[in-house]
């Protein structure tokens, strides 16, 4: 069970998250959409404490972290329950694809090398990169790197997967190969929170759409509700601008 309560985050003078409450059910795929600079990425980054929230409680399963009173260990436990896919992939440059995918198992979860390698190879095959397993990231295309980073995220079987604009940095031709991998994960009922600008993808893959604007959740609902019948005028304005209705 994933619960975010009363999340506030400011960067110096600028208040970016102004009280966000969110619950995600196991196996649910939630897409977060909204104008740029509205706190979507910040929300994601607060969940795994890459940004430290000013106020709010984050609960994933049996781990609860309160911004006002928490330990380093709690933050680490929280991170062990999540996995993140970054806009700029962030594969470890000094490791091959296989080494990258094995890394969270071997170093963080203390899994023995043989078991980790088996699990990693299975994931690498699933994302279609088996022929590239011994390549370094510098030799891969953006789409390949992102698929590798997705494999690295899934291999630890996280309670919650966080996707921070996974295709925003990709050349258009490479976007669909990555979206297809994410769609497959969604079909397998991975719990996912995806910040994206790909509206068609969000409509097809998500169970729930959240529209964020000005640091708060303005409206949320099923894809049909949000895209076909938005209630809030701000939602309508955003969707009209995109021509996504």
């Amino acid at each position: 069970m994933i619960k975010i309560e009363n999340l506030y985050k400011s960067f110096n003078e600028l208040e970016v998250l102004k009280g966000v409450d969110l619950e995600v059910k196991r196996g649910e795929v939630v897409a977060v959409i909204g104008p740029s600079g509205t706190g979507k990425s910040t929300l994601l980054r607060c969940i795994n404490y890459l940004e430290k929230p000013d106020k709010g409680i984050i609960t994933i399963g049996d781990v609860t972290v309160d911004a006002a009173d928490h330990t380093k260990k709690q933050v680490r436990d929280l991170r062990l329950k999540t996995a993140m896919v970054f806009q700029s992939y962030n594969l470890f440059k000094n490791m091959t694809v296989l080494q990258n995918v094995m890394e969270p198992l071997v170093t963080v979860k203390n899994v023995d090398k043989a078991t980790a390698e088996k699990a990693a190879l299975a994931m690498i095959e699933k994302v279609g990169l088996l022929d590239k397993k011994d390549q370094y990231p510098s030799k891969l295309s953006g789409g390949q790197q992102q698929r590798a980073s997705i494999a690295r995220a899934v291999v630890v079987d996280p309670d919650l997967m966080l996707f921070d604009e996974p295709t925003s940095a990709l050349d258009p031709e490479l976007v669909s190969e990555v979206l297809n991998v994410i769609k497959e994960l969604a079909a397998n009922h991975r719990t996912m929170l995806i910040v994206t600008h790909e509206m068609r993808f969000a409509r097809e893959a998500a169970d729930r759409i959240i529209f964020m604007d000005g640091g708060v959740i303005v409206e949320q609902g099923t894809p049909e509700e949000i895209f076909d019948n938005p209630q809030n005028p701000r939602t309508v304005k955003f969707l009209n601008k995109l021509g996504a209705r």
Binding site: A83, N94, T107, Y136, R152
Partner: protein, 221 residues
């Protein structure tokens, strides 16, 4: 007094005979200095409480004062206060002070290399739950080392040249030999020119190794 070329060449070989002394001093100093510098760099990078401020003062002191005065303070000055310094060999004193001095410069080279690691790499490591130590070991050090080799090589070349100051406290290395020969023969030009030629050759060879290491690292990923 005309320049005696055969004596000059003879001296080059004589001074070269002491290259072992110079290199031994340089490498032992390098190893001690590097370990110290790595510890200092990690303390400074993570801003470890208390130790961070001590490190800042240490680095500032050793970088801002001339090496020869650091050596003299230790070998002559502290010898008046501490018996263990008095009984220490001049080579040991040279190595200790030079290692302390070099570690300050090398700390900055290493610290700079840590900062050169892309922030996204760190975030990926954090997001998967790595501790700072795991991150340092698995991600930062392997990537930083490439960036650190050129400035560290320069630090090493500097410290190798600084071993020549050892003669002021009685260490007979290459420079020491040159000076002794000069004192005997009064042929200062030949002696000091020979010393410079030998240092030039030794450093040129070390620089060649540096290029090879850099080329090898460049290939890996």
């Amino acid at each position: 007094m005309l320049f005696k070329f055969d004596y000059f060449v003879e001296l080059i070989f004589k001074v070269f005979g002491y290259v072992g002394v110079t290199l031994r001093l340089a490498f032992v100093t390098l190893i001690i200095a590097f370990i110290l510098a790595l510890a200092l760099a990690i303390i400074r990078h993570y801003e470890v409480p208390v130790l961070n401020n001590i490190s800042k003062i240490y680095v500032s002191f050793f970088r801002s004062t001339p090496y020869i005065s650091q050596l003299f303070l230790f070998y002559f000055g502290l010898a008046q206060i501490f018996p263990f310094v008095r009984t220490m060999s001049s080579s040991a004193a040279l190595i200790i002070t030079l290692a302390a001095n070099s570690s300050a410069f090398m700390c900055e080279s290493i610290r700079g290399s840590f900062l050169s690691v892309d922030k996204g790499q760190i975030e990926a490591a954090q997001a998967m739950g790595m501790t700072n130590l795991q991150m340092m070991r698995r991600v930062i050090l392997p990537q930083a080392i490439r960036v650190a080799i050129p400035p560290l090589s320069n630090n090493f070349i500097s410290l190798t040249k600084s071993t020549s100051i050892g003669f002021t406290v009685g260490v007979v290395d290459m420079m020491g030999k040159a000076k002794l020969e000069a004192a005997n023969s009064f042929r200062f030009t030949e002696a000091y020119a020979a010393a410079l030629v030998v240092y030039w050759i030794v450093i040129a060879i070390l620089t060649m190794f540096q290029s090879k290491i850099e080329a090898k690292l460049k290939q890996s990923y």
